[in-house]
Symmetry: C2
């Protein structure tokens, strides 16, 4: 008997009918002879509505209270799903994050899972029950509720799969899997049968919304195969795992893109040791995530420092950087807020030259100017004008012949 | 420094503005030098909406899941209230029923509180915090969430007041206190300054909606003074306590009325020992609460048995009683579904004759036919046609000169 962990996102359980539909899918998995643990997100827009409620009461909601508030969304969906399964004649029980033994640190609103004490889940499975776990939440050693922040329910699912040594963690969502490019941008983009953890990590980090990088990372760490598939169809989805053939025929696997990129350039920075830390440490302390960082070669000990942030963080980033800019004697801060990022990702790339030049040529042919370039071993990212992102993704999809890739 | 327990009902915290208003009242109590523990109900219609959601998913929601579902309503309101207090500059923390140490039996949907382990509350109070407790919920020894059923949040408040040895338990609601009669029925009805536990218990049991009898009973048991007052005004409310003068001038203190009464008469019952148990035990097992029971003097060992149930229980009661009726050889079951109850309540009554006759005369003058009569030491209840209830309440209010009572 295999143990399967399934996760259903908010759009999959948005109303009573959808919950019943999900219950049928879970029942099928049980009927196939599996033990089933299900992680569920809050219904539809519930989380957003709870956040709005908090901000109607106060501009600065207490983090601790905020977490208890948000955690109710998953309690509601998990109980309703358990009810639907019982109605269909199956033994089922809902467990809160606390009851499921998801123990986290005390960092409210973006807690990290410290350990999973799966005793109660194990006992309920042994009793023959389908176990429904409220996603996105955990509990501290002091018995205070925490939430896991972005990608929380995916992370709950993969963590449970690891703790329970599940055969597979299935992430059901509103898309049919991982595509060579966002199918809304590239209609001829197609679903990948499988992808490696590293490739998925790069795609997710650089804009593919299908799964949060954090959960992919955890999957890689514990070597849990993760299937991403649609909760509305029976499409086979995409399997993220460690056993993908290293010598895949076409070495670019997918194109990721990200809008809402903003660029800040600190012009005329005196180039002395420690100057980068002077700028980036305060940004880290303000909890602003800095992405690409580029420093030009310095001329006469004066250099320019360029970095990107998400557009939502731009204003706060400037509030941090501008005073520093003055205090270190830099000339000025220049901002470009309307940028995007386009990335090609593929494990094979690292040992095969020519991918970068092919990418740059494809963009250049479309008259797209590249503002910044960064690379990892399996990814090349170009920062370009946001208005040219769609054109760039399509051009790269063609240039790397992804419409014919397997 | 006194310890005060306050409870705010659902209509008092129905939206963000009302929550802020309640926060101001709590802050005032704190500023007066008190330690404050607050019990809060779910916002407005939240509980009804959650119930509806459950019934959209299944006709027979699992009791255990139902309780977790409903308990989220009070988690939401308690966190929002804690946020509002923090926004106003006060230390405040919300606690779930479990965190507050409300330990119950395992009877889901109408659990009874077994004990209160108030250690965490005490620790938070010692830290200077205002403690907001989610009402209506508790936890079993197995760490499963339960709800307390009708009057749950009032019961939470009084139980906490008892465990913490509070000076007073203040129940804030949408009415200004306990009235001589429902002011919507009798405009000249007025607020009572004080009332004894016994009188309040009778009024609440026989239709006064202001407080649930269960919480009054608990208050009496632990001798906790209970103030019932409005959360929207600064009216002084009504104090329910044990120290009310026994020799009050006007011995009828209030008129309670109840609609939705249904009467079942089992006609032609063979009058032999154990016959009442044959009928009423199956009703109790079906969880149907039987109110007034009257058995006529038997003629030739044949009698009639009459009892009342709430109209909502009528159909289920008949399903239980009709087969019994046949099996014991009774002639028939006769139903009158459109009845109401009107009661006069007052501690002084028990030693002063003439109250019953004054009541019957007042009803008779208005042409109101009495179908059943029951009494306790401090109450007389008449079952009459529902359509005549308003008229009866007004007539009795005048007959006992309650418009001039203190």
């Amino acid at each position: 008997m295999a143990l399967v962990v399934q996760k259903y996102g908010g759009s999959s359980v948005a109303d009573a009918e959808k919950i019943k539909n999900v219950a049928r899918r879970i029942a099928d998995t049980k009927e196939q002879g599996n033990e089933v643990v299900v992680v569920v997100s809050a219904m539809g827009d519930t989380t957003d509505e709870l956040i709005e409620l908090a901000y109607q009461v106060t501009k600065h909601p207490s983090d601790r209270e905020f977490d208890v508030l948000l955690s109710t969304g998953e309690l509601v969906s998990s109980t309703l799903l358990a009810m639907a399964l019982k109605e269909a004649g199956y033994e089922a029980i809902s467990l809160s994050g606390a009851q499921a033994g998801i123990v986290t640190d005390t960092t409210h609103r973006k807690a990290r899972i410290r350990k999973v004490e799966a005793k109660r889940i194990r006992a309920e499975l042994d009793r023959g029950s389908i176990v429904i776990v409220a996603g996105f939440q955990g509990i501290t050693d002091e018995m205070d509720v925490t939430t896991l922040g972005r990608g929380g329910s995916d992370t709950t699912a993969v963590a449970l799969a690891a703790a329970l040594e599940a055969e597979v963690c299935q992430i059901y969502t509103d898309v049919e899997g991982v595509f060579t490019a966002d199918p809304r941008v590239v209609p001829e983009g197609h679903r990948l049968e499988e992808i490696s953890y590293e490739e998925m990590l790069e795609l997710a980090t650089y804009g593919a919304k299908v799964m949060h990088p954090r959960a992919v990372e955890l999957g890689e760490l514990y070597d849990i195969p993760i299937l991403v598939a649609s909760s509305f169809s029976r499409s086979p989805g995409t399997l993220i795992h460690g056993g993908v053939s290293m010598e895949v025929h076409n070495k670019v696997r997918g194109i990721a893109h990200d809008l809402n990129v903003a660029k800040i350039t600190v012009v005329g920075v005196p180039d002395r040791p420690g100057i980068a830390a002077t700028i980036f440490q305060p940004l880290a302390e303000a909890n602003i995530s800095v992405d690409t960082i580029v420093q030009n070669a310095s001329i006469d000990a004066i250099t320019d420092l360029t970095f990107t942030v998400t557009r939502g963080d731009l204003e706060r980033a400037l509030q941090v950087v501008e005073p520093i800019c003055q205090s270190i004697g830099a000339r000025e801060c220049v901002v470009d807020a309307k940028l995007g990022a386009v990335s090609i990702v593929g494990t094979g790339m690292q040992n095969a030259p020519g991918y970068a030049s092919r990418m740059f040529a494809a963009l250049s042919e479309r008259g797209i100017n590249i503002q910044l370039i960064t690379t990892s071993e399996i990814r090349i990212t170009c920062i370009i004008a946001e208005s040219q992102i769609t054109d760039a993704v399509r051009a790269l999809h063609r240039a790397f012949e992804l419409e014919t890739a397997g």
